[in-house]
Amino acid sequence: MALKLNQSEFKIERDLSKCISCQVCVRQCSNDVHEYDRDSDVIYSDSSKCVGCHRCESLCPTDALKIKERESQFRINHNWTEEHLRNIYRQADSGGVLLTGMGCNKPYTIYWDRILFNASQVTNPSIDPLREPMEIKTFIGRKPDNLEFEMASGSNNNAAKLKTKLYPQMELSMPIIFSAMSYGSISLNACKSLAEAASESGTYCNTGEGGLHKDLYKYAGNTIVQVASGRYGVDVDYLNKGAAVEIKIGQGAKPGIGGHLPGEKVSRDISDTRMIPEGTDAISPAPHHDIYSIEDLAQLIYALKEATDWSKPVGVKVAAVHNIAPIASGIVRAGADFISIDGMRGGTGAAPQVIRDNVGIPIELAIASVDERLREEGIRHRASVIAAGSIRSSADVVKAIALGADAVYIGTAALVAMGCHLCQKCYTGKCNWGIATQDPYLTKRLNPEIGTRRLVNLLKGWSLEIKEMLGGVGINAIESLRGNREHLRGVGLTDREFKILGIKHAGEAW
């Protein structure tokens, strides 16, 4: 159809003086963009199929390829933008729901970028993390109201005895956890890289709702096992393998709807792991059909605690939505040991675009209001709060913790470390970087050892940066940053936004 021509989003520039027709691009592209013509010894490219993943450009040995954003050929209109038109053409073609991958890419305010962190000058010495200890160890789990001790009396006893029994905790060497990404949505090699990196770095990774592949059992001590509405792969052994259990109620990219793994992707291996028949669609329901209210959630939390002999923290993951503060309070009162809040910019393997781009609220505001609410109610210590939904750098981590989070989840950042270029086509299963695909020809592109190395490096780099920022502000333990909004200032926000974030404007002193 004539409209097709206008649908190419990218322009492929091939410098023929550099191209040696080696056909790397032809072999690398799972979207069949490049085609070699034997007769003329020239490679032709069909830009309309290009998704902008930059795989061919990255691997071109002679630097002959450039993938560029195509200049719009639509009549400029600030209301009916190119994207709206494109979407309507696509839907008029197909009659379907438009899918997309990764997190919301719309220009909503990114509050991280409006928040500035503090540093010490004169009255308080900054601390040099290269020379002084700097502690970022973090514990996730319920904390008791207080500790009780039996103090030894008499001269032959020499110390206090702890009477209070602590609740189970996850011990993190840094306040960063790999977010839920299921085997199915990403390849086994990607799962292996995440699990190995988590265990090497002393943190955790989350299975997502895809069950736990038997090759990953050895990392189970560093794995949070998820129980989602489809219950894929959930049995008592699965629950007991993990270091913690997370009930997934919602996800920032698609609050209010369940996941979808098409039957074509449900290979033998995935069918075993998810405990579903081979080749069937894995469509998880929008709600848990045994959770229609907060009491039901409490029942499931306690059922999971019973099933795991009260030996692991049981948490709940929700999407950040308008009433997140009271929802979080209810979840804490329902007995959750930690609560994961996923902001609207959080990633996904597949979500309806309309939901991803229009539903939910930014994580910064959610964290601020949840922390405030839980403290007002005096129950903040009863559950740890994990912030998720587009943590892009160590600065975002520091700001999230200062706003009140205990730790953060990173998903997209971890995928980017493994090669993801954010083309947002995860749902097609054709990921040229070997991450969001099950095609053996593509998955072998991600070497799990290299993936692990890169993830470990990322965590290491971020920890060093977090330590630098902590030292700069004269703090040598991360617990003194938690909820410490005195060290944050904002620029370019409204009074209402400042009030919700609980921070002052840049230029205002203590």
Binding site: T123, A159, K161, H381, I475, E479, R485, E486
Partner: protein, 404 residues
């Protein structure tokens, strides 16, 4: 009610005030009382550490005739504030004695506010207390905390600076030695004195804002700045403490009240919370101690005082001094007979006690605890010094020998 006075208090509260300072404390562990001139002399040596914007003293054992009654020291900006406050006091307390705090005319103290003291018994049946009982569970101490918070928040121009028993806080704008002379502290006899000279980096001269800060029998003098202030404040505010002054000293006081009085954590363990050992030190400890220290850090992480500080805290039965965990502020301690001295600088101690039996610089996170023998058994002392030695074994010996 004058508007300027109101503004003064409110202006003060809006800002957190980082400050450098001098601290000095002296106690007699056998409970023998001595005059205030010692402490004045000690703090005066550190004149350079203050800038005249605040000085003060906490004195214990000075009101033996009212040993079991609440003693309130209140600063008033004007008579209206006094009238309102006295109405509220009348509702909740039986007043045994109400008088102006005696002062001496001195050129170096400018325009002092009204300073009054009251000796009080709590009324059991007052309406306002029945209201409070619902919030606080009805403990007398909790009622006092609640009453003090309400007055300090609600009545502009009135500020309760001291609310304990057989103790009092004297403070104001000026150098500490001048404040001491102004309040005639040389005429009082006490067994435990602490003092503070202030060098605020940002301040409005306001008498209520000087240190020590006190609530109930607690008094805290503090040199330093807390980088963890925001975290600490959020912790105590969850337990009903309002940080009206936004000073580090205030939040430290509430942490002591919360942890020691309300949550009953032994004073010998407090340093493991406020200046907790490093994780790498904890990992090396024997199993049982490791579990205790780990639990303390996990549960009381928000109470960790981070940033440079040295503090002297007292509640009448002990004098407690502590440094931040990497010792970014000076703190020196000395003993002579039954006297314990704690100071920012050695010179101050040498001034009042030229040849102490022992003088030492406590490590970061290592507390110095002086206790009254008379009231508690000697064995308690030994225990606490042992508790305090989780970190440095070699220090135990020194401390044990000190106690003897």
């Amino acid at each position: 009610m004058s508007i300027t006075c109101k503004n003064r208090k409110e202006n003060f509260s809006r800002f957190k005030i980082p400050s450098g300072c001098a601290v000095f404390g002296v106690m007699n562990e056998s409970g023998k009382r001595f005059g205030g001139e010692t402490v004045i002399e000690g703090i005066s040596v550190m004149h350079e550490r203050s800038n005249g914007l605040g000085g003060g003293f906490a004195a214990y054992g000075i009101y033996p005739q009212f040993e079991n009654n609440w003693a309130f020291h209140i600063i008033y900006d004007d008579k209206e504030a006094k009238r309102q406050t006295e109405d509220r006091i009348g509702e909740s307390f039986k007043v045994l004695l109400s008088e102006e705090i005696p002062t001496r005319k001195t050129q170096r103290i400018e325009s002092p506010p009204l300073t009054h003291r009251y000796f009080l018994n709590i009324k059991d049946n007052s309406i306002s207390h029945r209201e409070m009982d619902r919030d606080t569970g009805g403990k007398e101490e909790d009622r006092i905390v609640d009453f003090v918070m309400r007055i300090n928040r609600d009545i502009s121009g009135a500020y309760i600076i001291s609310s304990g028993k057989n103790m009092g806080i004297f403070k104001g704008v000026g150098y500490p030695e001048d404040i001491g002379v102004f309040f005639k502290l040389d005429e009082y006899q006490g067994y435990l004195w602490t003092s503070h000279g202030r060098f605020p980096t940002n301040s409005v001269g306001w008498w209520g804002g000087a240190h020590p800060f006190g609530i109930l029998n607690w008094s805290v003098v503090h040199n330093g700045e807390l980088s963890s202030y925001g975290t600490n404040k959020r912790l105590v505010s969850g337990f009903g403490y309002e940080c009206a002054l936004s000073t580090d000293t205030e939040v430290i006081t509430y942490l002591f009240d919360l942890i020691v009085r309300r949550q009953k954590i032994d004073i010998g363990l407090v340093h493991l919370i406020l200046s907790s050992p490093l994780w790498e030190e904890i990992e090396r400890m024997p199993c049982e101690k490791r579990e205790i220290l780990k639990a303390l850090r996990i549960v009381y992480g928000s109470a960790l005082l981070n940033g440079p500080f040295s503090i002297i805290v007292s509640n009448g039965s002990y004098m407690y001094a502590l440094n931040d965990r990497i010792k970014l502020r000076p703190l020196v301690a000395a003993r002579k007979d039954s006297y314990l001295f704690i100071s920012s600088e050695e010179a101050s101690i040498r001034k009042v006690c030229p040849s102490p039996d022992v003088i030492w610089q406590p490590d970061g996170g290592e507390p110095v605890i002086g206790k009254i023998y008379k009231r508690e058994k000697k064995s308690v002392d030994k225990r606490s010094s042992r508790d305090s030695s989780y970190r440095k074994k070699k220090k135990i010996k020194i401390q044990d020998s000190l106690v003897k």
